[in-house]
């Protein structure tokens, strides 16, 4: 972190004068090359958080320690909510069935050809993805899914979120990945950029966080200032730590949220306050009502500042569940999503951190090959992308064609999302897939990381 952060935090530390000393027995940050004093200086509010630290460690310290361990690889997980119509993103205009199945919704010719399969054409609204693909930075999964596809949004999304065809599994696949690569005192390691926590981040052991924007995570107590006001933030975290291991799940959830929020607040303080960012995006993001581009910009800044994020989740703008009026809603959602992802990639490249970030774009299923009038109903195999300078840039599984649909008229899967997850776990995070995915060794692992 910058020199400025140190100045700001020294002031905070002074405000905490008169507090009890650090509890005996608190872990020291071994092997980081940093003294305890430097932690106190680096992390806003840390000195305040340490008193009476309760049964969990102080997260400010955990975050700082994770940060001092050096940057790790990062997976950004972007969800297209509702089941995006893959046949309108990479349109199979060279497939003789396409115009018959999609008389009104078929994408007109004139888009950029997909270089890896002559039948397919990029929707013009996805041109930024086509550009990144041309640079070798996009691996396309043109028909990704699983066997016996479920056409319920909630069941199919659940499978993807937990990384298994198991309706009863309560932890997310990224959560279990963080259980292995993360630490039990760094909630920023898994962060949802948005109003609530992404289900895939649900961990069994380690903390995770949700943040709408890094510059928007302040806590102000009306009618309180000076030490009583400053101490209030570490105090709610302290209450949270004291109850975080409650046997009552509701109490534990509330307590952990409080404890993690206190740690996250301290780490984000240098990136802005009261909605005013102090960071400058290193690329031009689209302006939009939806906060997706802003959240990506905030995430790039957090990564640029060296915050120890390993997995991040976001939801792409718009409703992709286009049962009706698909021609009106779909194009603008696709454009905003593609433009934002492009800016994010350029931002990472300008910051010199692109080599440690991969972005996975997914949706719970594709849509029925045959349109229903003005829209499309739920389908089976869908589309996925892995974006980044370290992506292989090669197609994973082929486009199966519209002549061999399944008995319900849906696209058949040519790759399995669990194989993709296994490859990311092994080749991007260096984790044995069996530790993350039930039966994780069993699926063929595509070459996704170069």
């Amino acid at each position: 972190m910058s020199h400025d952060a140190r100045i700001c935090c020294a002031e905070h530390a002074r405000a905490g004068a008169g507090l009890p000393a650090i509890e005996p027995g608190m872990p020291t940050p071994a092997g980081t090359g940093l003294s305890r004093r430097s932690f106190l200086m680096r992390s806003a509010g840390l000195a305040l958080a340490v008193y009476g630290a309760g049964r969990l460690p102080a997260f400010e310290e955990g975050i700082a320690r994770a940060q001092a361990g050096g940057p790790g690889t990062v997976l950004v997980n972007v969800f297209l909510d509702g089941g995006a119509d893959s046949l309108s993103i990479l349109a199979p205009i060279g497939d003789s069935e396409y115009r018959r199945l999609r008389p009104t919704l078929g994408i007109p010719e004139g888009g950029q050809a997909f270089s890896e399969d002559a039948r397919l054409m990029w929707n013009p609204n996805a041109a930024p993805l086509a550009a990144l693909h041309a640079e070798g930075k996009v691996s396309v999964l043109p028909a990704v899914g699983y066997t016996s596809p479920d056409q319920s949004h909630f069941v199919s999304r659940h499978y993807w979120e937990v990384g298994a065809l198991d309706a009863g599994l309560r932890s997310g696949w990224l959560g279990r990945l963080l259980d292995v690569v993360g630490s039990d005192d760094n909630p920023l390691q898994g962060v949802s950029m948005g109003g609530s926590l992404g289900p895939s981040l649900a961990a069994t052991r380690v903390p995770v966080a949700a943040v709408d924007a890094p510059e928007d995570f302040g806590f102000w107590a009306p009618g309180s200032w000076g030490p009583p006001g400053d101490l209030a933030i570490p105090a709610f975290a302290d209450v949270g730590r004291a109850l975080a291991r409650s046997r009552d799940p509701a109490v534990a959830q509330a307590a952990r949220a409080a404890a993690f929020a206190g740690g996250v607040r301290a780490s984000l303080a240098p990136l802005g306050n009261d909605g005013e960012p102090t960071y400058v995006p290193q690329a031009t993001y689209p302006t939009a009502e939806h906060r997706f581009p802003k959240r990506l910009a905030g995430l790039a800044a957090m990564l640029g500042a060296g915050l120890p994020v390993r997995c991040a989740t976001l939801t792409a703008p718009g409703a992709w569940d286009t049962h009706a009026n698909q021609a009106e809603e779909f194009p603008q959602n696709l454009k905003l999503t593609a433009d934002s992802l492009f800016a994010f990639q350029r931002d990472l490249e300008a910051r010199g951190i692109a080599d440690r970030v991969l972005t996975l774009v997914w949706t719970e299923f594709g849509r029925r090959a045959e349109e229903n009038g003005s829209g499309t109903d739920h389908g089976a195999a869908g589309i996925g992308f892995v974006i980044g300078t370290r992506a292989t840039g090669r197609m994973i599984g082929e486009f199966p064609g519209l002549a061999s649909l399944d008995p319900q008229g849906n696209l058949r899967a040519t790759s399995d999302f669990r194989g993709l997850y296994a490859a990311l776990a092994a080749d991007w995070f260096g984790v044995d897939p069996a530790a993350v995915l039930p039966g994780g060794g069993g699926f063929p692992r595509p070459a996704v990381v170069r």
Binding site: G18, G54, G195, G223, P228, L231, F236
Partner: protein, 443 residues
């Protein structure tokens, strides 16, 4: 045959407070004590058989003192309903309206606000009534017909959206007793709805149009016939797998752990025997021992907490800030995240925790103690006063942590003026800390 067990323990203010948070929107000052004096039976009856459905107290206003315009101004619809939660004398009716909004989750992101308010009245009308009648009326409700494409479903272009969710989310549960073929056939039975759209009036004249209806025979859920939309609903609601779904889901809104097997079976029989009416189920669930078990707490949904805080401090809706405050906390009324409603198991994470903090700040800012107030600087006394502000008890662990905070805050006072000023500053902050403590975020 087993029966539904009944709570036989003490019914004091603590239990009454729990009941009011679960079956309503928390107590007004003194209400828990008053309800406790009635005893469990009459207390539950007062909720399930409310004597008045009138609203009590001053009408809601926006920040400029003007009446709300729920049909026209952003966020006013949310505040309009929140006001009913604050002022209703029939809290369970309002709470069940919220339950049905979550159950048959419909969003103004597709339907218009006007239609959403119409649906809201429908849900309130059926709040404690027949589930079957509710499901029938929801099926032809204009907001729902737009939301799940009922009006896009015709014999020429079958749209499966409503058929799937009717079985999966509303009546049977995912994969319980039906398959993909049933979805497609049920969708055919649900064809026929139409509407008109015009500039100025928007969507209107929702109707059943025989021309659009597929009058042929369908094979649904093991039965064959020329079914229409009413049959579709009845086939789903009267399916043998439906009572267990309805009972377990309804139970889950009030008690966080699933019903014991015997209790569930007894409730299912009760539900069917009473013609699929909901009130007898509520009468039984609200008297069940698990509702009063101190070890089974539930996180308060954001709008429940917002309404409850306003009730606790005796304040009404006087700002539309409640719309974005609740939105950030994860619950914008008339705009559930999707057709499965809100996820009640995941209200709190770091982002939504901060939003709860901001909700509390909206209350505390208006009520802050001014700098001149005289206060003792004793930590225990400061914590006690702050807890009285919310009229809430605190666990020993929380009280201990808060007293440590108050002690540290007071210990930072070196100067004479600081020793005089800090108690007020500390008590103001303690009110915030209590509002976001696990004790108050759950009930």
């Amino acid at each position: 045959m087993s029966r539904v067990p009944r709570y036989r323990g003490r019914f004091g203010p603590e239990q009454a407070r729990r009941l009011l948070w679960r079956a309503g929107f928390g107590p007004r000052r003194g209400q828990a004590e008053k309800l406790a004096r009635l005893g469990l039976d009459r207390a539950v009856d007062s909720l399930t058989h409310p004597r008045s459905r009138r609203l009590k107290g001053p009408a809601p206003r926006d920040e400029d003192g003007r009446p709300l315009a729920p049909r026209d101004a952003w966020g006013h619809d949310h505040c309009w309903w929140l006001d009913r939660m604050v002022r209703s004398q029939a809290p369970l009716v309002e709470r069940m309206t919220l339950v049905w909004h979550d159950w048959f989750a419909t969003s103004k992101s597709v339907a218009t606000t006007e239609l959403m308010l119409g649906q809201n009245a429908l849900l309130r009308r059926h709040a404690l009534g027949s589930f079957e009648q509710l499901a029938l009326d929801v099926t032809r409700d204009p907001a729902m017909l737009l939301w799940l494409n009922g009006v896009d479903n015709s014999k020429w272009d079958v749209n499966e959206n409503y058929a799937r969710e009717l079985m999966e989310l509303f009546t049977l549960g995912a994969g319980r007793g039906y398959g993909e073929r049933d979805v497609r056939e049920l969708a055919r039975a649900l064809t026929g709805f139409a509407y008109t759209w015009s500039e100025g009036r928007g969507p209107h004249d929702f109707r059943f149009d025989r021309e659009r209806f597929d009058a042929g025979a369908k094979r649904v859920l093991g039965k064959r016939g020329k079914f229409d939309w009413r049959d579709a609903v009845r086939l789903s609601v009267r399916h043998r797998k439906s009572p267990s779904f309805v009972v377990a889901k309804l139970w889950g809104y009030f008690i966080p752990t699933p019903p014991p097997r015997g209790t569930a079976r007894a409730l299912e029989r009760m539900y069917v025997a009473h013609g699929r009416k909901v009130r007898p189920l509520l009468d039984a669930i609200l008297r069940h021992p698990h509702l009063y078990d101190p070890g089974r707490r539930m996180v308060k949904p954001p709008v429940v907490q917002a309404a409850g805080m306003l009730r606790a401090v005796g304040r009404g809706i006087d700002t539309t800030a409640w719309s974005w405050l609740c939105d950030q906390a994860g619950q914008m009324l008339f705009e559930p995240p999707n057709v499965s409603g809100w996820d009640d198991t995941r209200w709190l994470d770091t982002a939504t925790f901060r939003a709860r903090w901001q909700m509390a700040a909206e209350i505390c800012n208006e009520a802050r103690l001014d700098d001149e107030a005289k206060r003792s600087g004793k930590p225990a006394e400061l914590v006690r006063r702050a807890a009285r502000f919310w009229d809430t008890p605190l666990s020993r662990t929380t009280r201990g942590a808060l007293e440590r905070y108050a002690g540290a805050a007071m210990a930072a006072a070196d100067q004479e003026w600081e020793r005089e000023a800090y108690p007020v500053l500390t008590e103001n902050a303690l009110r915030m800390l209590i509002a976001v403590s696990p004790d108050y975020l759950t009930s």
